[in-house]
């Protein structure tokens, strides 16, 4: 049986810029196979710069591997025929980290929902399309009348991210690649977003590749875990591996999980603050 989505020995190298002696190896000989027959959640865990986002983007076909190949139903992504490419786009969807940047500020939030329906020809008329959208919104716990017709900055981060989940759900995909879906969400809302993800698997039978730097949430919702460190897989296995980490890096990750303490808020998002800092110093 051919897996739905497969990464075969994928390496991605970003050419060094000026002054950089070495090129950056973002991902090295990465292999993954996802059989979508059994819905499952695979967590890909790693710190920032570990290559996890690059991996996700390659699985989505947004980035090309330097060597190796990404296969969709056994066929290289680069060589899909028109119809197959469309099928791939429907079956493999994504949720991104930044719930603001994913919206084009020119449009109301409806835009992200209507475009896929229009592009993939999912509805025959406006009423049908409207019904589909409302159903998807309700499924992720949003009231259509509170969300539709609004501009992105009129909604909270949580609402925006849930709309993105609804958008993915709309297409009834087989796989959703969720890249840090809660890292920019206020702590109090993370729980409900994660629930949405679990719900996707349980109610709609969608497999999820859950990309995160946060071992805790990975442990909460996933069936198996892949730990990435500097582009390489250092540990891989069922979710139980958290209880018995082998690799020192995994151990480090686990030890840095904050102790649940109601008086202490969840720490500032490390990856985000790093990237924000990086941009500032640019």
């Amino acid at each position: 049986m051919t897996p739905l989505l497969q990464a075969r020995d994928v390496t991605k190298i970003f050419k060094g810029g000026l002054g950089d002696r070495a090129a950056t190896v973002a991902l090295k000989n990465f292999t993954l196979a996802l059989d979508a027959e059994q819905p499952t959640i695979i967590a890909v865990v790693g710190e920032s710069g570990s290559g996890k986002t690059t991996m996700g983007r390659m699985l989505l076909g947004l980035e090309r591997p330097t060597t190796g190949e990404i296969l969709y139903r056994g066929k290289n992504l680069l060589r899909l025929a028109r119809e197959e490419a469309k099928q791939f786009r429907i079956e493999v969807q994504a949720i991104f980290q930044d719930p603001f940047g994913v919206y084009n500020s020119f449009y109301r939030v409806d835009h992200v929902l209507t475009v896929p329906i229009e592009k993939f020809g999912l509805a025959h008329n406006a009423n049908e399309s409207r019904a589909m959208i409302e159903r998807a919104l309700k499924a992720v716990g949003l009231k259509p009348e509170d969300t539709l017709g609004r501009y992105p900055n009129q909604l909270s981060g949580g609402q925006r991210q849930r709309i993105m989940i609804a958008r993915a759900l709309l297409l009834r995909p087989k796989v959703i690649i969720a890249d840090e879906p809660v890292s920019m969400i206020d702590a109090s809302l993370r729980e409900s977003i994660l629930k949405n993800l679990l719900q996707l698997k349980q109610e709609f039978g969608i497999s999820i590749i859950y990309i995160t730097h946060d071992l805790t949430t990975a442990y909460q919702i996933s069936d198996s875990i892949i730990v990435l460190y500097r582009g390489e897989v250092v540990e891989q296995g069922g979710v139980e591996l958290v209880n018995d980490p082998q690799h020192p890096y995994t151990k480090l990750l686990i030890s840095s999980i904050p102790v649940p303490d109601p008086n202490r808020p969840w720490g500032e998002d490390e990856e985000w603050s790093q990237s924000a800092h990086a941009e500032r110093t640019v």
Binding site: Q97, F100, G101, N104, S105, F106, V112, N153, E279
Partner: protein, 298 residues
């Protein structure tokens, strides 16, 4: 896109509806004021066209070299034409040149800039060569060619020629804007939503850059009017039609500055300056709309 600390997402009360572009534009004092000035200039010319006998544009229709007075509010030329009557033709014509040229330049420039920036690769390489070539070859060369090939250059010819050369700067600028815009997450969303490259350019990138394109359009407008005036002053303008540039050309070629016929040369010059001012204000206004940081400050 830098995210500042204040952008951290919380479940705060949703903010009020953000003003759309149209409101932003209408609320911008510079755009409104520039627009009013622009319309005032054009309106005066059009109203003048209704009130002043077009025959007075012809040579020998009125006493020569008169300073402004009741019968000729802006005086007369050495050729015995009413300056006011000429203005009624020159202002709309110059604006027409600006409009057509800016439209052509912006449309061609955007097309090439977006395509080149978004698709990259060899398409980009080829387009860059074309853009750079057009940046480098002097317009004059083409103008002389066209003047020799067509029978009498008209205002429309001028506009098209200028427009055909007005796209290379916008193309370059839009290309680099596109390069930065295409890394934004909403482009990824558009891609996984099944949008083609063409869709993404027209439906995602263009709307994002509308105010910016508007500012560019107005800038191209200014440049086109200036180019028309420059070419006309070199004697390459439309001979049988009046534009602000041709008016300056005729006034200079009859030595009006030396002879102190200030009403002849100053009228088109001042109008040109006011027109620039109006357009420049609109340009600044669009800049503010597309770059909110400027909004509060200027």
């Amino acid at each position: 896109m830098a995210l500042a600390a204040k952008d951290i997402i919380t479940e705060e009360t949703p903010s009020a509806a953000p003003p759309g572009y149209s409101t932003l534009i209408l609320q911008n004092r510079k755009i409104v004021f520039g627009g009013i000035l622009f319309l005032l200039i054009l309106g005066t010319a059009l109203a003048g066209a209704l009130m002043i006998d077009p025959k007075l544009r012809r040579s020998g229709s009125i006493t020569r070299k008169l300073p402004p007075h009741a019968a000729a509010v802006l005086g007369t030329t050495s050729l015995g034409q009413s300056v006011a009557a000429q203005m009624t033709e020159a202002v709309p014509n110059s604006i027409q040149v600006g409009l057509i040229a800016a439209l052509l330049g912006t449309v061609i420039g955007s097309l090439l800039g977006f395509v080149s920036g978004y698709f990259g690769g060899w398409v980009d390489a080829v387009l860059r060569v074309v853009i750079d070539v057009f940046l480098a070859v002097p317009v004059l060369l083409f103008l002389v060619l066209i003047a020799a090939l067509v029978r009498g250059v008209t205002v429309q010819h001028m506009a098209i020629i200028i427009g055909l050369f007005a796209w290379s700067w916008p193309a370059r600028a839009i290309r680099s804007q596109t390069l930065s815009l295409k890394t934004r997450p909403f482009v990824d969303v558009a891609r996984i939503s099944g949008m083609s490259g063409f869709d993404i350019i027209t439906r995602e990138l263009v709307p994002q850059m509308l105010p910016w394109l508007g500012a560019n359009f107005v800038n191209a407008f200014i440049v086109a009017i200036l180019a028309e005036a420059g070419l006309s002053i070199l004697g390459l303008g439309p001979q049988r039609e009046m534009t602000l540039g041709m008016m300056i050309y005729w006034s200079l070629s009859y030595g009006s500055i030396l002879q102190n016929m200030w009403w002849w040369w100053l009228t088109p010059v001042v109008t040109l300056m006011l027109l620039f001012l109006a357009l420049y204000l609109i340009h600044l206004g669009f800049d503010e709309v597309s770059n909110p940081r400027l909004r509060t400050q200027v």
